[in-house]
Symmetry: C2
Subunit: 219 residues, 2 copies
């Protein structure tokens, strides 16, 4: 009971900071995109490719969270985008306060897109609003079709679900119809994209979606 | 500070229960194997195959944890083994107390192997001793070679690391040498196995390892 109380207070504090983040992003015209997935589902690969293809038209930056290492930060910096790497130690998710501190290190003038790559985890990040304008959950074809059913909370919270690594669907024996059914039953609200960051297949609709959301007034 | 205090107390209570579990398993001659990995790394597939191949010689049972659904429990029951499915709701790991209650539902007489399939998560389960005799962490080739470096705590705690889905190494562009280096640098204590539950490649050494550990007096 004491634990529940403490956790509830933490989430209330997080929500307050998330509201402050959200109004900052809105006032600066920045679309903040919270990117969530299992470890190794292809978050960094999708962002590398997206930055390479969109960065020229829409100034972008990244906040990236990992328990340890700055591998992802270094990969993402090659795009030329400003990147802040957060290392969370043993913490299994990003919190609004961590994002607020990271954003202080970023040049917001002229920025349009802020990607927030969360810690690889389909459980813990679900309950933490970061103040994002868009919440995107990835599902790689190699993870299996039933992951939305097994991790419903995070998929229910998604604005978009991106099925990644579609170039491996054949070798992995991926059942696309089953995955589509699982996503639709858990996350009927989500727009769904199917793509491979490696081959480039399916990136067009994903970019069009981001640009549409940018056009709607970011934040 | 209050949170840290509460969490510390929870972990102390968990460790006490884990000690009770461990002595129960030892007194009954049961080797308990805690199986940890990302969502979709192939825990259930490995256990399906292992049960099919070893169950005849070594009576086995499974406790399987998921946030939601009894998919894995149903898959594993097809082997004929006794299976207890735990659904944790929003809890991102199994705890020793959950395992103790699940084990009450299992016939321990004559049992030799108890597999505990943890929640798909490379962060939270690391700190929770379940009283297992063996802790096995899976890394699928599709997740990328650097996962041990990015989730060091869980890999450091492993008795064995099992690299899964080796049949997808080619299509996934997996760098085996880099993975080997990452595992050795983070988890030099771990025995390492490379296998595909789908093709059967590499299962022999994994089974030999389990049987060796059974021979050493389980628990």
């Amino acid at each position: 009971l004491q634990v529940l109380e403490v956790n509830r207070n933490l989430l209330i504090k997080n929500d307050e900071q998330a509201r402050r983040n959200r109004s900052l992003f809105k006032s600066r015209g920045v679309l903040a995109v919270n990117v969530l997935a299992s470890p190794g589902a292809g978050k960094t690969a999708l962002l590398e490719r997206t930055l390479a293809d969109l960065c020229g038209r829409h100034p972008a930056a990244v906040v990236v969270g990992d328990l340890a290492t700055d591998h992802d930060g270094r990969r993402l910096r090659r795009s030329g985008a400003a990147v802040v790497q957060l290392t969370t130690g043993t913490v299994c998710h990003l919190e609004a306060e961590m994002v607020a501190r990271a954003v202080e290190q970023l040049p917001l003038d002229g920025l349009r897109l802020l990607f927030i790559e969360n810690v690889g985890n389909l459980v813990c990040p679900a309950g933490y609003d970061l103040g994002e304008g868009l919440r995107v959950v990835l599902l790689s074809v190699t993870e299996g079709e039933d992951k939305p059913l097994k991790y419903p909370k995070i998929f229910k919270s998604a604005d978009a679900v991106v099925v990644t690594k579609t170039d491996l669907a054949g070798p992995a024996g991926f059942d696309a119809a089953a995955a589509r059914g699982a996503i639709e039953s858990v996350a009927p609200q989500a727009e769904v994209f199917w793509l491979s960051a490696r081959t480039g297949e399916g990136l067009g609709p994903w970019y069009a979606y981001l640009e549409r959301r940018l056009g709607h007034g970011a934040g």
